[in-house]
């Protein structure tokens, strides 16, 4: 029992209004992969940030390699051999890949930076990750998934014995996830201790030895992975049984609401054609960078459209700006809620009212506060958003509740088409089910739902029809009955084939 | 210590409240006016004297100061008007309150008890004549002449420039576009140096900072160019002594302050003032007069 490399006992951490951690104890052995699981806001990231010195604990004992540590900070954590890949990207966009990898630990000779050494070393680490990136590339020019890989490379380069990965795969492609898992296994065999946080429970089977579960800032249980089941894990996380992971209701398709013809917008949106009917959920599947987000943005008027027709209820509409889309009944729940979805410094009321001011303001633009209050209250109640009152700032909510606000602001108006872009990314199982129920609710109201997701199971579980995208094009349209993971993957990778063809030609 | 700001003399009751309002608080010139006024107040013993000054030369701010003085219960105001027109309405309000007005340094277009000032235009002309004569002495009868001034909005320095230019009427000297250095000695030096590069035979500085800049540029270039300027400061006198500046027009700011307070108190005591304009004079300071 002496080979614990991390021991935390009775750790407490309070944030304004929230007890993020309540006497939590945590242990990690060398040579194991421990999955830290829990709903949104359970305190997983907070616990790991305390371990890595980002936050200071209010109370509790911390031992690293058996040695008690009083006050921790990021530098000390690094020196002690703790490396963390944070849930959010933490890259300096203006610096190169190598400069980012070695940030804070630059190699110098007599005080002068040795760029060559860092580039060479960085190149080696990237190669070890099976990544073909020039270490001198500016990070801001890389795609998000590549940036995430650089982040991983950076953590690995510290040669830390304790490695924390907070949702590392939420922005990775499946090939990259595969590469990451290979590395995790290798590191484990080399005796590293790894903490792995993810909401994608399907991943656990490939790498995890032990799981530990938090709920509402409290330690619930921990067990060996082989002795448990996903069902059991989920019930511990949620505190109750989740009967149906993908609740499905029958579709009742009536009129065609939306028709998109030959939509083009930049290199990632080419010749998009599809239709959407009342009361159905259409999933858009594809790999990272397939152009799904850009398609939804073009449809919504957030990105400029080059050509194409958008027809709603049989009438062509011109969409140049989001407001045009909103007016014609198309709304978008964007994928990055912090960046695109919420005004975090404003109140919940302000956020919900923002796109609906046309409804609650009179012709002169004067806001009717009573209507506003009613709208906010009904939205909060309908979606069961948990908050003290509607005047608190949006950024004081947990991730899941923030997501509900982003959805909620659209549901108070009578939209025809609701587009969800990765609505469940970074959201816990229970909240996910709530969001599925929400989509079903819309579906039953006769609204057309477009649903972009990178998670195959939920695409298959919720959609009535699936569009597969690759390289900015729709490569296949599948009815749910004929769809399988393999078929979707086949069409989602059509673009690789095209490159091959191109190279052979 | 706030000795540059205010000084209250004598007992509380029955003292006359006299305010000095200058254009700003920066120039040594104003400090000297204040010094003269303070001295008079001390001698008289029945004056509550305060120097109010805006932080920068600005009409609106000067008017604020006037309003503040009225609100403060002024019996008399000694004013150096930033511009002749701008302050007139404020002065009308002051007059309506029975406040006596005495101009020092620069009058406004509004009747007052007395003006103690230099005729800036005339003084500028004297500066021009000094330069012209020095040039003649070197048998220079044509060439370019540069002017370094503060800005185009301060009436007194604009008047000096006008007078300076008028001295050259009828000659073939070419007076270049005026350049403004905000009275900043370093910026003025750059401007003067550029003039010298351009091949000017003389440079005129419109105030203390402009003159210091001009003197330093000439000093560096080696003394071929004739420099004349305005105001008396230690640095300017030094430059004259070393022969880099020909002359500076020195006003007598201490006299303005001193006599100004005396006049104000005289009229407050019910006496009549016979002269409504006192030329406090300008002395031409040259190397041989030091």
């Amino acid at each position: 029992m002496d080979n614990y490399i991390v021991e935390l006992e009775n750790v407490c951490k309070k944030f304004p209004g929230v007890k993020a951690l309540d006497h939590v104890s945590f242990k990690l052995k060398s040579g194991e992969v421990l999955a830290l699981l829990g709903e949104n806001g359970a305190g997983k990231s907070t616990l790991m940030k305390i371990l890595s010195g980002v936050y200071t604990r209010d109370q509790g004992i911390m031992k690293i390699f058996g040695e008690a540590i009083d006050d921790m900070n990021p530098v000390k954590a690094q020196e002690l051999g703790i490396a963390i890949i944070h849930q959010e990207l933490n890259m300096c966009d203006h610096l190169t890949v190598a400069q980012n990898i070695f940030l804070g630990r630059e190699v110098t000779k007599k005080g002068v930076l040795s760029e060559k050494e860092m580039n060479d070393e960085g190149g080696k680490i990237l190669k070890g990750l099976n990544m073909n990136i020039d270490p001198e590339t500016i990070v801001g020019d890389l795609s998000v998934s590549k940036q995430q890989m650089v982040e991983i490379a950076k953590a690995l380069s510290t040669k830390a014995k304790i490695l924390i990965m907070d949702e590392p795969t939420s922005a990775l492609t499946s090939k990259e996830i595969g590469d990451l898992f290979t590395i995790i296994k290798r590191l484990k065999n080399e005796g590293h201790g790894i903490v792995y946080i993810s909401h994608r429970l399907e991943e656990l089977q490939y790498i995890v030895d032990r799981v530990m579960i938090l709920r509402d800032g409290q330690y619930i249980t921990s067990m060996d992975y082989k002795d448990t089941s996903l069902r059991e894990i989920i019930s511990y996380m949620v505190g109750r049984e989740i009967t149906e992971k993908f609740p499905r209701i029958d579709k009742n398709v009536k009129e065609k609401i939306l028709e998109v013809k030959n939509l083009n917008a930049g290199k990632m949106v080419r010749d998009i054609n599809f239709s959407l009917y009342e009361g159905e959920i259409v999933g858009i599947a594809g790999l990272m960078g397939a152009g799904r987000t850009e398609t939804t943005r073009a449809l919504f008027g957030a990105n400029p459209m080059e050509s194409g027709e958008i027809i709603i209820d049989g009438v062509e509409v011109k969409i140049n700006k989001p407001i045009d889309a909103i007016k014609s009944g198309i709304v978008l729940v964007p994928e990055d809620r912090k960046k695109d979805g919420l005004c975090t410094k404003l109140s919940i009321r302000d956020n919900i009212a923002l796109p609906n001011l046309d409804i609650i303001a009179n012709k002169l633009g004067i806001v009717n506060r009573k209507k506003e209050e009613e709208m906010t209250t009904s939205s909060v109640e309908n979606l069961d958003i948990r908050l003290a009152n509607t005047e608190i700032d949006a950024d004081s909510l947990s991730g899941g509740n923030q997501q509900k606000v982003v959805v909620g602001k659209w549901l108070v108006r009578n939209s025809r088409v609701v587009i969800f872009d990765e609505p469940t990314r970074g959201i816990d199982v229970a909240s996910k089910v709530e969001i599925y129920n929400l989509m079903n609710e819309l579906k039953s109201q006769g609204i057309g739902v477009l649903f972009v997701s990178s998670e195959m199971p939920e695409i298959l579980g919720i959609s009535d029809r699936i569009l597969v995208m690759a390289d900015g094009r729709i490569t296949k349209e599948l009815d749910i009955k004929e769809a399988t993971q393999d078929i979707i993957l086949e069409y989602a990778t059509k673009f690789d084939r095209k490159i091959k063809e191109g190279m052979e030609a | 210590s706030s000795d540059t700001g205010t000084s209250n003399q004598g007992s509380e009751g029955g003292n006359y409240k006299v305010y000095l309002i200058t254009m700003d608080q920066m120039d040594q010139h104003w400090v000297t006016v204040d010094g003269g006024a303070k001295k008079a107040a001390e001698e008289l013993g029945n004056v509550d004297y305060t120097w109010l000054a805006p932080d920068v030369k600005d009409d609106a701010k000067q008017i604020e100061s006037i309003n503040n003085a009225i609100a403060g219960g002024a019996d008399a105001i000694l004013l150096a008007a930033n511009g002749p027109t701008a302050v007139t309405s404020a002065l009308r309000e002051a007059e309506a309150e029975g406040v006596k007005i005495v101009y020092v340094d620069s009058p406004a277009d509004f009747p007052a008890v007395q003006t103690l000032a230099t005729d800036n235009e005339a003084a500028g002309k004297i500066a021009g004549i000094e330069m012209l004569e020095a040039l003649k002495g070197k048998s220079v009868t044509s060439g370019k002449i540069g002017i370094v001034n503060v800005n185009a909005s301060t009436a007194s320095t604009v008047a000096r420039e006008k007078g300076f230019r008028s001295a050259f009427e009828g000659t073939v000297f070419e007076i270049l576009e005026t350049q403004y250095g905000d009275g900043d000695a370093a910026r003025s030096k750059d401007i003067a140096a550029n003039y010298i590069t351009e091949g000017v035979v003389g440079i005129f500085g419109g105030n203390e900072g402009s003159t210091v800049g001009t003197g330093n540029a000439i000093k560096e270039a080696g003394g071929e160019v004739i420099g004349v300027g305005f105001d008396k400061s230690d640095t300017i006198l030094q430059l004259i002594k070393e022969g880099h500046l020909l002359a500076t027009m020195s006003q007598n700011p201490d006299v303005m302050g001193y006599e100004g307070v005396k006049t104000a108190v005289k009229v407050l005591e019910g006496n009549t003032i016979d002269k409504d304009y006192v030329d406090t004079g300008v002395s031409v300071i040259k190397k041989d007069s030091l």
């Binding site: 957030a302 989001p322 410094k345 | 706030s2 000054a53 600005d58 009409d59 403060g72 309405s89 909005s153």
Partner: protein, 337 residues
């Protein structure tokens, strides 16, 4: 949950970001007033009060403009130059014999052109606000200088007495007109900011420009509107300057943009956008004005005045930060109990 009893209106008012700061600085303002009142018995005289209010009015005006722009997450460095430009344009036209009210119209139009340029450069051409308005600051000052051929204007003459009384010298119900003008504009722009769509959009853009865009807010028109408001305020102050002096002065308004930032920030408007209320701007402007007036009366030299004002700007923002941190701590304790 314990908040349930508080009426929603009050709750809304006090949960507004920046409200804490407004309360804090209001107390600060009262303290200042009391101190200066003790130092100088004249301070509370009728005359000084109305005089003081008239001095504060222009700062309130430029503060309103700057607050609008700051709330969108931008800054307007051109304020002082637009004041100068408006002063020179109006005065020049009047000296050329144009009807004063027509000249006022032309002045507002010219100022609005600068506001429009600012808004378009920033929202359409995506220039950082600091750069765009640094450019227009220099340009507008250049226009102020060139409009009367590099000279301050002559007197705008007796024909403009009505204009001068309207903007500065006249009184209505015992208060100087300048004060009424500032109050009127404050009420209009406060209503616009707190009760209308445009106002909401201004906060949303300052809080998160992307989220606002995706909520159907037109970024460019919102930012442009904020700059137009700023121009209207600056032009009004420029006209007040013309009325004060009865002439056009080229360097009128120099550094007013910084006073405007100071008034806004002291009053709780964040330079980072999305936060602040115009009530705070009034308090901030008052603190600024009371300090200037009080320190001048106290006979403090300009140097001391500068140092005191610098320290107050820093402390008032520090206070805000400290108060917010304490509020959070207090909350924590409550939760624990």
């Amino acid at each position: 949950m314990e908040n349930k009893k508080i009426p929603s209106k009050l709750r809304r008012l006090f949960s507004k970001r920046g409200m804490g700061q407004v309360v804090t600085v209001t107390i600060g303002l009262l303290v200042l007033i009391i101190v200066f009142g003790i130092l100088n018995p004249n301070f509370f005289s009728n005359r000084n009060i109305s005089n003081l209010l008239r001095q504060i009015a222009p700062i309130i005006l430029i503060g309103i403009g700057q607050s609008y722009v700051l709330i969108t997450g931008n800054i307007d460095l051109s304020i002082g130059s637009v004041v100068g430009m408006s002063c020179m344009i109006s005065a020049t036209l009047m000296t050329k014999g144009m009807n004063p009210w027509l000249a006022v119209g032309v002045t507002y139009i010219s100022a609005l052109a600068i506001g429009l340029l600012n808004g378009q450069l920033i929202s359409k051409a995506k220039l950082p606000a600091f750069i765009a308005t640094l450019g227009t600051m220099t340009i507008a000052r250049g226009i102020a200088q060139i409009v009367n051929n590099n000279y301050n204007t002559d007197s705008i003459g007796p024909g403009a007495e009505g204009f001068r009384n309207f903007f500065y010298y006249g009184k209505t119900f015992g208060l100087y007109n300048t004060i009424w003008i500032a109050l009127a504009l404050w009420m209009v722009f406060n209503f616009l900011l707190s009760r209308t769509r445009t106002g909401r959009h201004i906060y949303a853009v300052g809080s998160n420009i992307h989220a606002a865009h995706l909520s159907g807010v037109s970024i460019s028109s919102t930012i442009t509107k904020a700059y137009l408001v700023s121009s209207v305020c600056s032009a009004t102050v420029g006209l007040v300057m013309t009325a004060i002096s009865g002439m056009g002065t080229m360097d009128a308004g120099t550094t007013y943009e910084l006073y405007a930032v100071a008034a806004s920030v002291i009053g709780g408007v964040s330079t980072l956008g999305g936060q602040g209320i115009l009530l705070g701007t009034i308090i901030g402007a008052s603190i600024w004005g009371v300090l200037q007036n009080g320190l001048q009366f106290a006979g403090a030299p300009v140097a001391i005045r500068n140092i005191v004002i610098g320290i107050i700007v820093i402390i008032s923002v520090l206070l805000d930060i400290v108060v917010r941190a304490n509020k959070n701590k207090a909350k924590k304790v409550k939760v624990k109990a």
